[in-house]
Amino acid sequence: MAKTKAKEQSTGDRIRKLVDRTIQRNINGVSYFLSDDPPVGQSRKDIIHQRGTLQLFHYHPLSDEVYKTPVLIVTPTSNRSYVLDMMPGVSLVEFLLKAGYDVFLMDWQPPRPEEKNLSLQDYSQTFIQECLDIVARETGEPEASLIGYCMGGVLATMFTAAFKGAGVRNLACFTTPIDFHEMGMFTKTTDKKHFEVDRMVDLLGNVPPNFVLQGFQMTAPAGQSAAQITLWRNMWDTDFVENFRKYDRWSNDMLPLAGEYFRETVKELFWENGLMTGKLRVGGKRVQLKNITVPLFHACAQHDSLVLPPASAPLAKMVGSEDVTDIVLKGGHVSLVCGANAVGRMWPVLDDWLSERSA
């Protein structure tokens, strides 16, 4: 008798839950299509420097006392920087500010047509040097910790290697490709045998974001459809929809790439694999990883479909630093730095490592 009642109750509960969810799904579904893009990158900041595609942010501190060494974040050139400041509670920038770091961030705007000649030297040397000088002027500290994510990590690594760590106290990289012959789909689509990078760049100037986006989507062709199914199934959950929209906005919000920079990246990194061979020369300087002697932190994601773990693994092995921390964490390319996975796994480890080397 009691069993039947409980069963009836659970059936009733289930029906009620189903009806509730259906109603909520419709409400959220309508607002999903009608409302504006959700706000992102909300941590308070000043733009302290701007030059064409480059903007330098200085975030307002969120602690009474900060570490001596400021942090300069180098973001990937193909994506918007707000992935590191997605929303309160899910923002690496906010986390670092609350933990007591003085945070600066290099943000990229779409390069103007006249900036099609910006080269690998501009991105990996001139811009970073310029920002380090401004950070030093603003803080009075001659050295900063460089943090780079994805291609931002490549730029930070190249800078530190080319200048033998001048102005850099620590280097922290997340999912940073070094062996470009292990980049899976990217290596295949940019294959020298059929990819005519010169023709493409000469024709277009800057490489439009849809070409870059296509490349990213090809690494996981079913990703978009699976995400839409997951969204539909969770449409009743307002928080899920809100978060989904923020990530979806970011993943489709790609930046064009400066033509010359793209050409050099393909030729020097993908074709010649210059960081692995140690033969890369940028701006007359040899970029050899063994010249990096500052403390290094490297984190990569086990299920990264963009930068495969074998592509980033050589970094920790090839640098000349004695103080090296190399970790592989669960998650994917984005969840490593943003989202619940990052909050619980990567950020605390980074803070433990960085705090010891920032006072």
Partner: protein
């Protein structure tokens, strides 16, 4: 929050399907033939895009309307003005700081590493 529990059969099926399609896609997209086709498609797309924008610009010019290039040029000029304003603002901040005698702003840069704070705690007891 969302239905993301490991036990959810629909979610599991979606994940399995996604993995299979991704593998299949990688096999197709990674082939040399696909690379060749893709390259010529990209080049053609780029050429069509360029030709179309040139023709459109001519038509717009005929109707006395701004083309995308004109708007880009305007945006560039606005960008340059904005850059100068940021530079002026930064110089003003520096001047103000110099006048008031404060070289640096913000909190004191005296925070100690976590280990130092941890090791101090037992002594305090």
């Amino acid at each position: 929050m969302a239905d993301k529990k490991g036990g959810d059969p629909v979610q599991k099926t979606v994940a399995t399907l996604e993995a299979r399609v991704n593998e299949l896609g990688k096999a197709v997209f990674g082939s040399e033939n696909f690379g060749k086709v893709m390259n010529s498609a990209v080049t053609t797309q780029a050429r069509v895009q360029k030709t179309f924008s040139e023709r459109m610009a001519k038509n717009l010019h005929f109707y006395n309307m701004p083309s995308q290039d004109d708007i880009v040029q305007l945006a560039e000029q606005c960008g340059r003005i904005e850059e100068r304003m940021v530079a002026i603002e930064s110089m003003l901040h520096q001047l103000l700081n110099q006048k008031s005698g404060t070289v640096r702003k913000g909190p004191a840069r005296t925070k100690k590493p976590k280990s130092a704070t941890r090791s101090k705690k037992p002594d305090a007891k």
